[in-house]
Amino acid sequence: MVSALLGHNPRLVPARVTCSFKQAWADVAKLVDAADLKSASRRGVRVRVPPSAPNLRLEVHKLHLWRGDRHLLRGLSFALDPGSTLQLLWPNGTGKTSLLRCLAGFLHAEEGQIRWGGVSVRADRDAFHWDMAYLGHDTALKADLTALENLRFACALRVPRGEVPLQAALDSVGLSKIDPRQPVRSLSAGQQRRVALARLSLWDAKLWLLDEPASNLDAAGQAVLEALLKAHMESGGAAILATHHALALPQAHCRLWQSPSDPA
């Protein structure tokens, strides 16, 4: 920009100035991106990577996260291969939820890199979100709608219109016997969690970020969660779980992580 103004004479323009100009411009572009303008225009011309292509690996490199005055995550690095899970067993208050929320894009990491399939997630947040599903403490179910209506809406948000096996998904989480007209409000907390798990299975996401997925679940419910996770891993999906429940998952592909100070 500056060099254009000065007639392309490189000697007149110190490299540092052009750099900082570029940097500032990139920063403004980032803000515009945050405001969704850029990603909206990008969405129109995106060429989707075919499903067979690259290794969708999640790489986290030297992630630093502050919450207020607390330096919560101090240079966290790990990688997650397709078809494997990582279970966070960190003690309470050490940042399990914050890590998941940071990966999902709610929280801003002060430093570090998060790469998905070799591409920084900040470069194309939407593409990452398309491959990702997040299940937090809140189930994001509407209490006044029925389970099927909730699932139908959740699919309309992400999956193109067509036949989606909603009832089959409900059956697979053991909710085949509930009254179809029953609003979610009248379901128990564990049943609501199961509806949320059914939604997860319908989204067809490659990376699951699950925060306390087993809360309120009984033994049968936990088995449902394990079955879902196994099917997800077998189809090449990856998952990060923040839970202290012992889950029966294939040992070879499931890593346990005891404390953020340990290497992953």
Binding site: A40, G105, L157, P160
Partner: protein, 229 residues
């Protein structure tokens, strides 16, 4: 990786449809502001001398201040429920344009709380002594004004999402922002009731509407995003 994804338009439409369905299941949220609007406009003639000429003078002010207050009441419901049950988080990570989904929410909110006020407004104006030939002007003013109120109000609703105190803070933030809407809306209504040409005020009202349609959703999306941090 799924081969294809729902388009932003269909996702936004889904948000709209679901919020309408929810409103049918739970009518209180949008009926209450409407009832408030009717009630307060009825109270005005009782509070002042119900002599027609004086009422007519008072009508624009009564109509617009009441409209402002009832849309403020309705604004509190805009994002609160979705934030509480985690729906907003899911919108943010859906891979769809967050702004577009929030615009769909705001549009639903306007359909449920703004449009009824626009439809009831002419009746309220009649009861306040406006002549029937003034009603088209009043209607257009209410229509343009209520759209801007919903869009600008969404910024305030987003900003107060993470705040401790809701209602009073919301009015403190939103009322200074929507003051121009009140000014031009009331002036257009006044001109229409007096039988004058209201076009100039309506143009300005439309200009504010266009401005808020382009800029307010961005600010509202930024505000909601921050409340989810």
């Amino acid at each position: 990786m799924s081969a294809s994804r729902a388009s932003t338009a269909s996702a936004a439409l889904a948000v709209l449809r679901r919020d309408l369905l929810l409103a049918v299941r739970r009518p209180g949220e949008w009926l209450q502001p409407l009832a408030f609007f009717v009630l307060v406009t009825v109270l005005f003639p009782l509070a002042v001398d119900p002599e027609p000429s004086r009422l007519r003078q008072l009508a624009p002010a009564a109509l617009w201040v009441t409209l402002l207050l009832s849309s403020l009441l309705a604004l509190e419901f805009l994002f609160r429920e979705d934030r509480r049950d985690g729906t907003l988080e899911q919108y943010l990570v859906s891979g769809q344009s967050f702004t577009a989904l929030l615009v769909a929410k705001t549009a639903t909110h306007w359909l449920l709380t703004g449009l009824p006020l626009v439809l009831v407004g002419p009746l309220a104006a009649l009861s306040l002594g406006a002549p029937p030939q003034a009603l088209p002007g009043v209607c257009v003013a209410l229509l343009l004004g209520s759209v801007s109120l919903s869009l600008i109000g969404a910024i305030g609703a987003g900003l107060t999402l993470g705040a401790r105190s809701g209602g009073a803070l919301l009015s403190l933030l939103v009322l200074p922002l929507v003051m121009p809407v009140l000014v031009f809306g009331a002036r257009a209504t006044q001109l229409a009731i007096a039988g004058d040409e209201a076009a100039s005020a309506l143009y300005l009202l439309a200009a504010i509407g266009a401005l808020s349609l382009t800029l307010a959703p961005l600010a509202a999306a930024a505000a909601v995003r921050i409340s989810l941090e």
